[in-house]
Structure formats: C-alpha cells, structure tokens
Symmetry: C2
Subunit: 204 residues, 2 copies
DNA sequence: ATGATTTTCCGACTTGAATCCGAACAAGCG
DNA sequence: CGCTTGTTCGGATTCAAGTCGGAAAATCAT
C-alpha cells in the first residue's frame, strides 16, 4: 500500500475500493475488472486508488489477504472442538464449515474463489497452511498414539496442500465429476485410512 | 488461432512464436513478456503474431496445451510398465519420470511451470487428468483385488488432483519445507496406505 | 474561531503495450 | 511470366494503467 489512510474517511475509501474489487470480480470476472470499473463502483476517482494501492495487482493482493484472513478467522475457533473428534469427523466438519463459509453473503467468496488461481493467489495461502499445520499439531497432541506416525511433516504437507487444491479445483470446475460431499467424504477417508494403516504398520 | 498456416514457412513462424513464448517466459517471467519481446526473439514482426493468434493469451494457451501434450506423450508409453509394478513403486516411478521430464532441455518446462498457475493453466489440465484416470483404470484391471475398493472415482479424483497440485505447488515454492523425493515418497505412501487399509476393511 | 498544515480526493493527461491494417513481398500455378 | 493467394511487416490506432498538481476537507495550533 502506497500510503496509509489516517482519517476515517480515507479508511472508508480503501474499504470501498476493496469491496468494489470483490463486487466486480464476482460479477464480471478478472478480465473485465479495470481500475475505472472499480473506481466507479467504489464511487471514487481513479486517482484515489493509487493513493492507497501501488497498482491494480495490489488490490487483488489485499483481497486475497482478506479472504485468507477471514478463512483463518473462521477456522481458528473451531480448533478446540475439532481436535476432540475422531479424525474423519474432524475433516468432515472442517470441510462442511468451509463450504458454508464460501456460500455465505450471496456466495461472494465462492464466486471470487473461482478466479483465484488466475491471479497470484497461491502466494497468499501460506498463513492458511500455517493455521492448518497448527491444527494438525494440536490434533496430534490430543491423540498421542498418532505421534507414532512416520514422516508427519511430509504427510501434513501433502494432505494440507492436496486438500486445499482439491477443494479449490472442485469449486472452479463448472461440471465436477463428483459432488462436494463426495469430495469431503473422500478426503476424510484419505486422512483416516492413512493414519490407521500407518499405525497398524508401526504396531507390527 | 485466427488463421491456419498453410505453407511450411508459415508453420515455422507459428513454431518460432510459441518457442519464443517459452524462452521469454522462462527468462523474464510472464510480467515482462510483451508481444514485442516475443516477436523480437522469434525474429518476426509483431503483426505476424496476430495472423495466427487471436491475442497474447492464446500464445500462453497454446504453450500450455503443448506442455500438457508433451507430458502425456511422456506418460503414455510408461503405462504398460507401471501397471505391472506394486502401487507404491508405480507412483514413485511416475513422479521420478515427471521430475526428469521437467528438468530436461535446460529446465525450460520447470521454469515455465513456476508461472503456470498465474496464467489460466488449470483449464488445460483436463487431458492430463484423463490420461492419469486411464492409468488408474488400467492399474485396477491388472490388480483385480483392488476393484473391491469403494468410491474409486472419488478417490481417483482426489489423488490425481491432489497429486498434480502438490507437485506443482512444490515446484513453485522457492523454499519448500520438504524435498521433492520426500514429497514423492509421501504421495506414494498415501496411495498405497489408502488402498491397503481399504482392502483390509472390505475383507473384514 | 481562524489561519496554517496535513490528509484526501479527483479527473484530465501521459505512457506504453496490445491489437489492427494495408502496403510490400514471396509462393504456387497456368 | 502475369495472376492469385498466402505471408510478413511495422507504423497507426486503441485502450487501460498509472501520474500529477491543484482543490476541498479534516485536523491542528494558537
């Protein structure tokens, strides 16, 4: 951000711009999203955009950050509850909540997520990955027997990344070959089967 | 593509443009890739680009198609060999080959893959997914006991998508927390553990 | 309160890349 | 060789991103 908004009026302007970003992105897609479009919808002059954003990219960047931050804010409070559940139920619950989260507010986030990959969205995922890593760590602590699993960092990496992208991919697919519920069920089975098999192996 | 090249000279021009696309993309990244850059490197006039491509996007589009096609061409002949191996070895072999493939030819594809997500790359992945589905199908045929696994389409979807994106994500990550070999080992374990656990369950 | 100072806002203007176009050039063909 | 058709070129045109300088609003100092 080029300059920080100091007055309340300015903060409102910045908000309006980001908000307008979400609106145009959801309505027109990223191609038709010009600075003028955004300025018009935000009800500000083009110049104002450049008071607070280095360039158009940065608007998308801030939008991505906000989306990820909101997602994390949604997940964080669930952690204490999730770590007490059986692993399969925990995954299912997490995914169900995420689905609801995307559909809230006239599906704004869902519509934007469809174009997420087109923009440099992946660079903002890291905090989410960290949060999910945290969730995994806490889960392991609450289920000491699972600590015997080998290569926990690697498997955590794979499941988190594979999970995130399977879901995003599914959301982006206009005609997915499986339903979201099937996807969720599959991911949950994936994780639980893996841990069960691994624990069976180390017990031998 | 706006017009089809009829003479050999024209085909060479089209090739030169796509080739130049790969070169600039690998060297400068997508931001610095302008039509003039491409035209200069290809040794043609800017105008020539628009004889065969609707717009700059389409160059990237054709590049993606070619990359996917080459990947498939690399995988197809491996299938008969892969379906005979134990599942873990098959996954490891496939990933090792893919790694070598990316590193071939001065790492051209690897360098481009880094920027792949930025462009509308995902829309071109489908044929690759189809090929991998084919591989899965053939594998199942060669190992009839695995046909007892439930939800094969779902799990196939998850493993293929999760696998593709875990790998791409890993390639794009400048400082990945795990090595490629660890990733490969993890994915292989993921698949094999799942099938083993699932077979154990249905036997009960 | 009121003038000084800082912050914010704006939209015509500049810039530079994408795209178009028509003249010039090469190839195939009788 | 003339003629047609395919091909190439690079300057002209278009269009959106990003700039700038001054006006208006908010805040501050006295």
């Amino acid at each position: 951000m080029a300059r920080k908004p100091r007055q309340r009026r300015a903060k409102a302007t910045v908000d309006a711009i980001v908000e307008a970003g979400f609106i145009t992105m959801a309505e027109r897609g990223p191609a038709a999203t010009t600075t003028r479009q955004i300025a018009d919808i935000a009800g500000v002059g083009v110049g104002s955009i450049y008071e607070y954003f280095e360039n158009k990219e940065e608007i998308f960047s801030v939008m991505s950050d906000r989306f990820i931050a909101d997602t994390i804010a949604m997940i964080q409070p669930l952690i204490p509850e999730l770590v007490r559940k059986p692993i399969k139920d925990a995954v299912l619950e997490l995914l169900a909540r995420f689905r609801d989260f995307l559909q809230a507010g006239d599906e704004r986030y869902l519509k934007c997520a469809r174009h997420a990959m087109t923009l440099g969205f992946e660079q903002h995922v890291e905090p989410l990955q960290k949060t999910l890593s945290e969730l995994v760590t806490q889960y392991l602590m609450h289920h000491p027997e699972t600590l015997q699993i080998r290569n926990i960092p690697t498997m955590s990496y794979i499941m988190i990344n594979g999970g995130i992208y399977s879901v995003i991919r599914h959301l982006c697919d206009p005609a997915p070959p499986i339903s979201f519920d099937e996807l969720a069920e599959g991911l949950a089975n994936m994780v639980s089967h893996y841990t069960e098999r691994e624990l069976a192996l180390v017990r031998e």
